[in-house]
């Protein structure tokens, strides 16, 4: 456990750290529940095809999966940039 090197900036980092997980979790919740609410309340729209074979539902569903992965990438990258890990 190499505590000393991180100790000097542990105050500002410590103060900022709780923000990032919650911000990213919030974004994930908004994206996913936005999708789920559309699925629940805009069913005809979700079934509509933009081009043959591609409905809004399938497009947005795939984008939710991609977005989830991108958010995890942002999170892990932010640690690597800080050099904290």
């Amino acid at each position: 456990m190499a505590l000393p090197p991180s100790a000097p900036d542990s105050v500002p980092v410590g103060r900022r750290r709780p923000a990032l997980p919650f911000v990213l979790s919030g974004i994930m919740l908004i994206i996913y529940f936005g999708f789920i609410i559309l699925v629940g309340y805009r069913q005809p729209l979700m079934g509509q095809q933009i081009v043959p074979g591609l409905s809004w539902g399938i497009l947005l569903g795939a984008l939710v999966i991609v977005a989830a992965w991108v958010l995890t990438l942002v999170y892990v990258r932010s640690f690597n940039r800080k050099g904290g890990a």
């Binding site: 990213l24 979790s25 629940g40 079934g47 074979g53 591609l54 999966i65």
Partner: protein
């Protein structure tokens, strides 16, 4: 002898007759892969020496390795057999499971993974109990854990039972008993842990197999997924005209369907799936196999990537099965559509691919079942027996005896429940396990990490209320009360309890905690934060 491929429009009768005649090639491939998997388990189990090895692989697994292992644990029967089946049955509705099962992972990564590794030692109950009164918290956590595990076991048993039925053409009752026996043997004979290496290898095989199948499906549609989806939509209109597809007017398989006919069903399901991942005991346990919180973070990141890729493949596999195998053929083999993926493998690659995919799915189920049974057995023997019955002092040998009886209990219970739930789609069943996990475990875990005022009474109330409400609502929901217990109308209207049980569990936790302060808990909270922050930057 016409076995697979089963082409569109193949008569139901033909399919039934062919069931017992899946050729020796598929069976041979099946046995070879099962033997290989058992061999690896045996080898890995031989390397397990200490308690720390046993529960947490000596904390020595790297982030990347653990990412694969997490993915292997998570991509169980439900993801592969269940989702492919649901998509083959109703298209877009099935994809709600693909998205829902995945979006929990970022939450696990952002909020839980590192904290778990910083505070606990072996199980998530370590984290909840860290600053609270150990005994009542561990009892409540054990009860919640067992409810989740039993529900999850049902799905695995049904999936495995159906696979054996498909491959060997025997009756479902016999297949499920065989699966139960094999499962017990697997747990007792060296396979005492679904070891990390076994899961890593299976994750690779499952991902590789699914990817190969997706490529083969797409090769029939000019490598354009949209052509596949368009064909699925066209076929379903056609089926509806012929009176084959379920309701009229014609079903649009590219949009929301009967699963979420009630918008609240969509929200309840979504909430359960998203929160549930962060409350699954056997998944949380994996974060202790890595040496430090940084590796825990890495492993959650890799797991998310692998699982995301896999779930995107389920879009192709599900619609591929719908178009290339055909609903009629799938439903003839299993009305719950659980066999869509193996049947698609048979159509695409003949018997070798069918045998391979069936073996990978079966071996994955065995490993998951072994892991689940063990976490259930340890909850029973360690938390309940030692803490409650023997007040904290029981000799090692007695614990082991209790653990063996617990394993037996889970085995028998799994067979019984597997028989009762034969007609259930396994992805739906796992969705229910997620709902219990989300209600019973997640609120207490989350609040113990992030809320200073959290108390023992609040944690216990939350876990008990979460478990009992979720299980109770499942019993009186349409899928169990009407479909399995054959009552006329369901008491609870939604197919998933999450919308009620998860908020209730949170509210109870907060209200009970606010009612009476617990100073020791507040004092120790500083240590919790300190450990998490130190863990985040060092190493």
């Amino acid at each position: 002898m016409p076995t697979f491929p089963l082409l569109l429009g193949a008569a139901v009768e033909t399919v039934k007759q062919d069931l017992g005649h899946i050729g020796p090639t598929a069976k041979a491939f099946f046995f070879v892969f099962i033997a290989l998997s058992l061999g690896i388990t045996y080898w890995a189990a031989g390397r397990t020496k200490s308690t720390s090895d046993f529960y947490a692989a000596g904390h020595s697994v790297t982030g990347v390795q653990n990412g694969f292992a997490l993915a292997g644990d998570f991509m169980s029967a439900a993801s592969f057999l269940g989702i492919a089946g649901l998509v083959a049955k109703s298209g877009f509705d099935g994809l709600l499971y693909s998205t829902g099962f995945l979006v929990g992972w970022p939450l696990v990564l952002f909020l839980i993974a590192e904290s778990l590794r910083s505070i606990g030692k072996y199980t998530f109950a370590d984290v909840v109990a860290f600053r609270l009164n150990q005994t009542p918290v561990r009892i409540a956590a054990a009860v919640g854990t067992m409810a989740v595990i039993l529900c999850y076991l049902i799905a695995q048993m049904v999936g495995a039972g159906k696979l054996i039925q498909l491959l060997f053409g025997m009756r479902y009752e016999y297949s499920i008993i065989i699966v139960g026996v094999v499962m017990m043997v697997y747990v007792l004979f060296g396979g005492m842990i679904a070891t990390t290496w076994v899961q890593i290898i299976k994750a690779c095989l499952l991902l590789g197999g699914a990817f190969l199948m997706a490529v083969l499906v797409l090769s029939k549609f000019g490598f354009n997924p949209l052509a596949l989806f368009a064909e699925a939509a066209r076929l379903n209109n056609h089926d509806a005209v012929l009176g084959m597809a379920t309701p009229n007017p014609p079903v649009n398989v590219l949009g929301p369907g009967s699963l979420v006919a009630n918008p609240l069903d969509a929200i309840s399901l979504g909430l359960s799936l998203m929160i549930g991942t962060a409350g699954l005991p056997h998944i949380l346990m994996r974060f202790y196999t890595v040496p430090d919180p940084k590796q825990a973070r890495q492993s959650a990141f890799y797991a998310t990537g692998l699982i995301a890729f896999f779930y995107l493949l389920t879009f192709i596999l599900g619609f591929g099965a719908m178009v290339l195998v055909g609903k009629k053929a799938i439903v003839a083999v299993d009305p719950a559509y659980n066999m869509a993926a193996p049947m698609l493998a048979g159509v695409l690659g003949g018997e070798p691919l069918l045998g391979f995919i069936a073996a990978v799915a079966f071996a994955t189920i065995l490993a998951v079942v072994a892991g689940l049974t063990l976490s259930g057995a340890s909850a029973l023997s360690h938390d309940l027996w030692v803490n409650v019955v023997r007040h904290g002092a029981a000799p090692e040998s007695e614990q082991l005896t209790v653990a063996r009886y617990a394993t037996l209990f889970f085995g028998v219970a799994a067979v019984g429940l597997g028989l009762a739930f034969e007609k259930t789609n396994v992805a739906y069943m796992v969705g229910l396990a997620f709902a219990i996990a989300a209600s019973a475990n997640f609120p207490a875990l989350f609040l113990s990490i992030f809320w200073r005022r959290f108390t023992t009474a609040g944690a216990c109330a939350s876990m008990w209320v979460g478990t009992l409400t979720a299980v109770g609502l499942i019993v009186i929901c349409p899928s169990v009360w009407v479909d399995i217990l054959h009552h006329k109308a369901a008491i609870f209207p939604l197919k998933s309890p999450g919308l009620v049980s998860i908020p209730l569990s949170f509210i109870v936790a907060v209200v009970v905690s606010l009612a009476r302060r617990e100073t020791t808990s507040e004092e120790k909270y500083g240590e919790v934060r300190q450990r998490i922050e130190a863990g985040g930057t060092s190493d």
